[in-house]
Amino acid sequence: MAIRVNPRLIEDLNRFGAADVQMCYHCGDCSAVCVHTDDMFRFPRKSMRQLQMGLEKRLDTALEPWLCYYCGQCSDQCPREAHPGETMMSLRRWLINRYDITGIAGKFFRSVQTEVWTVIIMGLLTALAALGYHLFSGSIYVVDGPDAFLPSHIVHMFDIALGSVLGIILLLNALHMWSLTMKEGGEASIPWWLYIKSILQLPLHFFTQKRYAECITTKKSGLYMPWIIHLGLMWGYVTMLVLVMVFLPYLQKGPEIFWPAHIFGYLASIGLLTGVFYFIRSRLIRKYAQYHKSHSTDWVFVILLALITITGILQHIFHRTGLPVAANITYLLHLMVVVPWLLRMPFSKWAHLVYRPLAMYFAAVRKNAYAWQEKKQRSFSPDLQPI
C-alpha cells in the first residue's frame, strides 16, 4: 500500500532539533561508518530520506532512532553538514512525543517556554505545599524524626504516590510504543514465544548500555567515554532511586551517618556528579559532534539533574554537620526540583531509560521473527531462494 506523505513533517521535526536534514544528498557515508547499522536496520541515511519525504508512518513505527547511540561518527563524516546524528537525536525526541498518549511531551519539546514555566510552577507549588504543611506541623530546626520540617514518612508516601502515577503513564506509553513499532511497524506477525526468547535483552541493555561502548568514537576516546560516564551516572541514578523509593526513612535518619544506607548514597553521588559535570561541560565546550547542538530540552534535563544532585548532597552535609535550618532549606529546594523532574519523566528525554532497552529488545524479536518466517517459507517451498 502506498504511504501517504506528510510534507510538513520536516518543519515539525525542525522544532525537535533536526535543522539540516534537507542538506543530505544521500551519499551513504553515514550509514557506512555507523557500527550499529545492520542488514535489517539501516540508518541514519534511510531515516534522513524518510524525513525528507515526510514518511511519517514509516518513522513513527521505526526502531532505528533508538538503535543509534549518538556517537557522532556519522555527523563527523557527513560531507554536507546535514548532521545525521542530530537527526536521529531529534527523531528520538519526536518519538518520545509520539509514544506519549497524553500529548504533554510534544508541548515541552516544541516550546522552551512551556517546559521552563511548567518546571518553575511545579517547583513553586511544591514549595507552597511544603510551607502549607509547615503551618500545621513541623519545625524548621528539626531535620529528622516525626517533628521534622519535612518528615520522611510523608515525603516517602508522596514519592511513592507520584512515582506510581508516572510509572503507570510510562507503562502506557511503552505499550503504545510496542503497538506502534511491533504491531503497525513489523511486517511479520510475531509468535509470542519469540518475545520470551529475547526477554533477557531488556535487563542486559538496561544495566550495561553495551552498544554505547561499541561506537567508534567511544572506542577512540581511550577511556570508553562517554559510555563509562553514562554507566556511572545511570547506576548512580538507579541506586539513588531505589534508596529514595524504598529506604528513604533510613536515608533521612540522623544526624549520625548510617553507613549501610549512606555508603550507597555516596557511591551513587559520585556517579551522578561526574555524570552531570561531564555532560554539562561537553555541551558547553561543544567539541564532539553529539554536543554541537543542544536542544532546549537537553539543557533542562542535565541542569535539573545537576540541581537535584547538588541540593541532595548539600542537604546531607548540612544535616550531618548540625546545620538544621540550612539542611531544611536545601531539602525544600531539592524537592522543588525533584517534583518537576519526576513529573516530566515520561514526557522528557529521560524516558529513554525505558524506550532504549525496549527498542533493543523489540529489534531482537523482529530479527528472530524474520529469520523464523524465512525458515518457515523455505520449508513450504523448498525451491525458494532467500534474497
Binding site: 551519499c27 551513504g28 550509514s31 557506512a32 561508518v33
Partner: protein, 600 residues
C-alpha cells in the same frame, strides 16, 4: 524633454544604494518623475500607460540590474500612451559593471547616459584611446592555446606566458577525452605545434608575470623568464644530456608516478621541443659550478649554458587574457580514503598518466610493485609495466567536491572522466570488475548521457552511494559504502582505488588577482563580469578570463571560451576605443561627453 525614470530589479541582490541614485536622477536635466518598482514587479502595460499618459513622458529610462527584462512592457505601455516606444532607454547597472566600491558612482554615469539616450560605452570610454594591438595570454593550456591561435590568425601579435616548460596544460596529460574517446594528443598536438611556429605568437615558457601597470588598452607587463639553460633555437632534443644526468626528480608532468632527470623535457611532444634544466635540482647549479656538469660535455650542439640567468623584460600589450586553469585538490588531506597511506589509492590525474600510452607503463594499467631504493634502502611503491594488473578497480566520485569540508562546489568533469576511466580499464583488462561509486551522475553535456549509458552497458558496476572509507583488511583493500539503491551497506575488496579528486584554482591565482586588481568568486575562481551575459569579461575592462580558471568546465567549453575571449580582444582592438566596462573617467566627464554626443 520630459523623462521618467523607473527602477526595476530582476533579482533580490541589493547591491546598490538606490537613495543616492534617485536623488541624482531627480536632478538630471529633463527628469520629471522617478519611481521604484522593486524586484520583479508585475507590470501591466494598460495600467502603466495611464501613468505615462498622465505625465506625458517623451522618454523613459528603466534602471537597475538587467532592466532589459522589463523593456517590452514599457515599450508597449509607451505605445498605448501615444508616446514613442523607441524612447525607452535602459540603464543597465550590473551589465556595465556597477558593483563593488564604485557601484554608485558608476550607476550614476550609466543613468546619465541613458537619460541622454547615449550608449554608456560610447560616452564613458575615452574616445580614441589607442589600444595596443598585442595581447598577453597567461597560461598555455588548451584555453590559452585556442585564444592565442584565434588572435594570431587574425594577425594580432600575442605573448603567451606559460609557467612550466611546455604549453598544453592538463589536456596534454590525457590519453582519451570523454565523451567521444578521441585521442587527446591528436587534437591538442597540432594546435600546440601551430602555436610554437606561429609568426605572430611569442612563446614565453618557464615564465611568470611579475608586474602589471597601465590602463585598459595599454598595459606594461613585467615578465620573468627563468633560466632554461638550454638554447631554444639550437637544441635538437636528442636527449643525450638527459641520459647522462645523474639526478632523478619526481616528474610533474607524470603527476608524480615516474621520475625525470634534472635536465629534461616534460614529454616528447613538448612545445617548445627543447630540453630544460631544473635549477633547484641541478648539482652543477646548486654547487655553484663546482660539481657535475656532465651534460655540458655530452651536448653535440653545445647549447647548454648552466650559468644562464633569468631574463626579465617589459612587454607592452593592449589586452590581457587569463587562462591559468586549475590544480587538483591535495587528496592526502581527506583521511578516509587512505591516499598517501595505501600505495594503490591514486588520484585521477595519476591514473591519466598511468593509462597514457606515452606514460611510464606504456599505457598498461597495473598496481604498484614494491621496490627497495638502492641508495636510501627504503621501500618504495612504484608503477612498473611488469606489475600485476588489478582485478577489481574502484573509482570514487566527488572526492573533496560537493563536500562542505573541502570544496562545496561540483567540479563538473569528474563524473565524466571517471566513466571514461571505467571504459579504459575495461578495454585494457577485459575480465576486470570495475565499480563506480557516485552520488549523482552529472552527465549534462552533448552525448554525455549516452556515454554514461554506454559505460553501464560495458559492464561497469555503477553503485549509487559514495563510498565512505577505504581500509586494509588482511593486506586487501576494502571499499565500504552504502548502496542506496540496493539498500545495503556493502564492502568491496579491490586492488586499485582511483579517487576522482576535485579541482581547485591554479596555484598563483590569488597573486594574479592582487596584481591585476581582480576579484575571485567565493570558491576561489576568477570572477567574470556577468555569469550569464559576459562570462569571459572581467570588471577590469581589458582583462579577460577563459577556460577552467573561471570555473570548472570540460574541454569543449574551455575551447569555446578560448575563442570567445579572442572576440572580445578583437572587438577592443578594432573599435579603437579601449574596452567595454571599466571607465576611468569622472562622473562629470561622462555627463559632459554624453551631453555632447547627444547634441551632436
Amino acid at each position: 524633454m520630459r523623462i521618467g525614470v523607473f527602477f526595476c530589479q530582476v533579482d533580490q541582490e541589493k547591491l546598490i544604494n538606490l537613495d543616492q541614485i534617485i536623488k541624482y536622477a531627480d536632478n538630471l536635466p529633463g527628469v520629471v518623475y522617478t519611481r521604484i518598482f522593486g524586484v520583479k514587479p508585475k507590470l501591466n502595460p494598460e495600467e502603466l500607460s495611464i501613468l505615462l499618459k498622465e505625465y506625458a513622458f517623451e522618454r523613459i529610462v528603466i534602471a537597475g540590474d538587467s532592466p532589459g527584462y522589463f523593456k517590452p512592457v514599457f515599450a508597449k505601455a509607451m505605445a498605448l500612451a501615444g508616446g514613442n516606444p523607441h524612447e525607452v532607454q535602459l540603464a543597465s547597472f550590473r551589465e556595465h559593471g556597477a558593483r563593488g566600491e564604485e557601484a554608485v558612482e558608476r550607476a550614476k554615469g550609466i543613468l546619465a547616459c541613458a537619460s541622454y539616450a547615449v550608449p554608456y560605452s560610447l560616452a564613458a570610454i575615452p574616445k580614441g584611446a589607442p589600444v595596443h594591438p598585442s595581447t598577453l595570454i597567461i597560461g598555455g593550456g588548451v584555453a590559452g592555446i585556442q585564444a592565442a591561435l584565434e588572435l594570431a590568425d587574425a594577425g594580432k601579435p600575442v605573448y603567451l606566458v606559460e609557467r612550466t616548460g611546455t604549453i598544453g596544460g592538463h589536456m596534454a596529460m590525457f590519453d582519451k577525452t570523454f565523451p567521444t574517446l578521441d585521442c587527446a594528443a591528436c587534437i591538442l598536438t597540432p594546435k600546440m605545434v601551430a602555436v610554437g611556429q606561429h609568426d605572430m605568437i611569442r612563446l614565453l615558457t618557464n615564465a611568470a608575470v611579475e608586474g602589471v601597470s597601465g590602463i585598459p588598452g595599454s598595459y606594461k607587463v613585467k615578465v620573468r623568464t627563468r633560466a632554461r639553460c638550454v638554447d631554444l633555437t639550437s637544441c635538437i632534443s636528442c636527449g643525450l644530456c638527459s641520459e647522462v644526468c645523474p639526478v632523478k626528480v619526481i616528474s610533474e608532468f607524470d603527476a608524480g608516478i615516474s621520475q625525470r632527470k634534472a635536465i629534461y623535457i616534460p614529454f616528447p611532444q613538448a612545445v617548445p621541443n627543447v630540453y630544460m634544466v631544473d635549477a633547484d635540482h641541478c648539482t652543477y647549479i646548486q654547487s655553484d659550478g663546482k660539481k657535475c656538469g656532465v651534460c655540458l660535455k655530452k651536448c653535440p650542439k653545445e647549447c647548454i649554458n648552466l650559468n644562464e640567468s633569468d631574463l626579465v623584460e617589459e612587454i607592452e600589450v593592449g589586452n590581457i587574457i587569463l587562462a591559468t586553469g586549475y590544480d587538483i585538490l591535495d587528496a592526502s588531506i581527506i583521511p578516509q580514503y587512505g591516499y598517501g597511506i595505501y600505495p594503490n589509492v591514486i588520484t585521477a590525474i595519476e591514473f591519466e598518466r598511468l593509462t597514457n600510452a606515452s606514460g611510464t607503463t606504456g599505457g598498461k594499467i597495473v598496481t604498484k610493485t614494491m621496490q627497495v631504493n638502492k641508495r636510501t634502502g627504503e621501500k618504495e611503491w612504484i608503477f612498473d609495466s611488469t606489475g600485476p594488473s588489478p582485478k577489481n578497480v574502484a573509482i570514487i566520485h566527488c572526492v573533496g567536491s560537493r563536500d562542505k569540508k573541502y570544496n562545496g562546489y561540483c567540479s563538473r568533469v569528474c563524473c565524466m572522466y571517471s566513466l571514461k576511466f571505467s571504459h579504459l580499464v575495461k578495454e585494457k583488462i577485459p575480465e576486470v570488475n570495475c565499480y563506480e561509486f557516485y552520488i549523482d551522475m552529472r552527465a549534462f553535456g552533448k552525448g554525455y548521457e549516452e556515454f554514461a549509458e554506454r559505460i553501464r552497458e560495458e559492464g561497469t558496476f555503477v553503485v549509487r552511494g559514495r563510498s565512505a572509507t577505504v581500509s586494509m583488511d588482511n593486506g586487501n583493500m576494502v571499499v565500504k559504502g552504502e548502496d542506496i539503491v540496493q539498500d545495503k551497506v556493502v564492502e568491496f575488496p579491490v586492488d586499485l582505488v582511483v579517487l576522482a579528486v576535485g579541482l581547485v584554482p591554479a596555484k598563483g591565482t590569488v597573486e594574479l588577482c592582487t596584481l591585476l586588481g581582480l576579484t575571485r568568486d567565493p570558491d576561489g575562481w576568477f570572477s567574470e563580469l556577468d555569469y550569464n551575459g559576459n562570462p569571459t569579461d572581467t570588471e577590469r575592462g581589458g582583462i579577460y578570463v577563459a577556460g577552467m580558471c573561471q570555473g570548472p568546465k570540460d574541454i569543449p567549453d574551455t575551447v569555446a571560451q578560448g575563442s570567445a575571449v579572442a572576440a572580445g580582444v578583437l572587438r577592443s582592438i578594432t573599435s579603437g576605443r579601449g574596452i567595454g566596462h571599466h571607465s576611468n573617467l569622472m562622473l562629470s566627464e561622462i555627463e559632459a561627453r554624453a551631453k555632447s554626443i547627444h547634441t551632436f
